[in-house]
Subunit: 231 residues, 2 copies
DNA sequence: ACCTGAACACCGTTCAAGT
DNA sequence: ACCTGAACACCGTTCAAGT
């Protein structure tokens, strides 16, 4: 009789579930997200979630999508319309000319924003790896990058390859960084791996390395892409 | 009484468990590996595994390590001894000179072997993301790369950054490729993402893209690294 | 439509009991 | 030392029952 069964106003919504799940992931990690725990956090019972999502994985997919939705894509906006028809665009391979550096700059800004979005929620990154790239925000990213690159003069095949390459690098960098590297066990390793002294094992050092490696790789990637090739 | 409790010869060994778990991962995916299922596959009961591994994650760590152990490191062998003292090594940034291209070639061969090792066991790749880089084979890789790069004349900081960059790219590429990309639902997407037509949604197409993107990125990365910089 | 308790078929892991 | 059955505290998910 006081079985509160259906409230006059829904207690849950997809948005509220996703926000709560993201907070839980950020605070306690992926494995803290169980249907019962998440429901409790929302003041509700486990099965209630299934009125709003088909499975738990669908919830985490939505969380991952929300994180990717934070990636800035505004640097591609100049390209988003009439991209296909930009006949005047000179060969993208050349390093001079007014528009030549634009795509490099846009890619760099996108890559940094992408990485920052993942760094803001490190615990979801391993899950991002599992789920495929068919989530809306990821498709939106792929579409924006592809559009900008073709508008800059790259062929469709080249644009696809470059976009994928950038995605590989950013995702790998996020994983390599946030899925934690070395531990501070110190010289236990030093004996077996002569080049890796204890300096490599400090977490704060690791953080600087990750930042440095990302910038090094990003610069190299963009410089290498701008260089003429023979394929 | 016919409680076969302890056999005269152990039924299990770490090696047998790891091999069986890897086969199970390859055949049916990560989620098929439960302690009960794996034990059954080994002709044994679930709890028996705990005589050989502390947790299930330790088993999967060992599987991941076994996969990484397949990566070829022989291209770094010329550098593994006396690496630190290679005084004669000219500045690695220059593109000419006999030893200059060597490290690029070694990195390329390593990256391809690394990717191939992961491609051979795609279902474990998402797990590799979770576990940190403190596994023996990964440390061995890091050590070999670092040694070769410093021997080629790179500073310790640069060698660290380059090694991490390469790892980011290969790992990201493996994830991006094997954690499945687009699906073949076709023009459902075509409406929302104008640049991604149905050609992008075919799995075989995706496979060619992954291969092409990997080679494009690898070449760009190495070319960009060889280019002089100002830091 | 949306939340509930009860139930199902699982998990990973512990442990005393066997040999 | 190494395998066993039984048990514990969980899972994700289904479903009839409530409003």
């Amino acid at each position: 009789m006081w079985h509160m069964a259906r409230p006059r106003k829904p207690l849950l919504s997809r948005a509220r579930i996703v926000a709560c799940a993201l907070a839980l992931v950020d605070d306690e990690g992926l494995q803290a997200v169980t249907t019962r725990r998440l429901a409790a956090e929302l003041g509700v019972r486990g099965p209630s979630l299934y009125n709003h999502f088909r499975t738990k994985d669908d919830i985490l997919d939505a969380v991952a999508d929300a994180v990717c939705a934070d990636v800035d894509l505004s640097m591609f906006e100049p390209y988003t319309e009439g991209a296909e028809a930009a006949e005047g665009a000179e060969r993208a391979g050349s390093t001079d000319g007014p528009g030549a550096a634009d795509w490099q700059d846009a890619l760099a800004r996108w890559a940094r924003s992408y990485r920052a979005a993942l760094a803001a929620h490190p615990h979801i990154v391993p899950y991002l790896a599992r789920g495929p790239g068919r989530r809306p925000s990821q498709l939106r990213m792929a579409d924006a990058v592809f559009g900008a690159l073709t508008a800059a003069g790259w062929s469709r095949a080249q644009a696809t390859h470059i976009g994928a390459t950038m995605r590989y690098f950013v995702a790998g960098s996020a994983l390599g960084s946030f899925a934690r590297g070395f531990v501070d066990d110190a010289e236990l390793y030093a004996r077996d791996y002569p080049h890796l002294d204890e300096a490599h094992l400090l977490a704060e050092y690791q953080q600087r390395v990750d930042d440095g490696a990302f910038e090094t790789g990003l610069r190299a990637l963009l410089a290498g892409l701008a260089q003429p090739r023979d394929d």
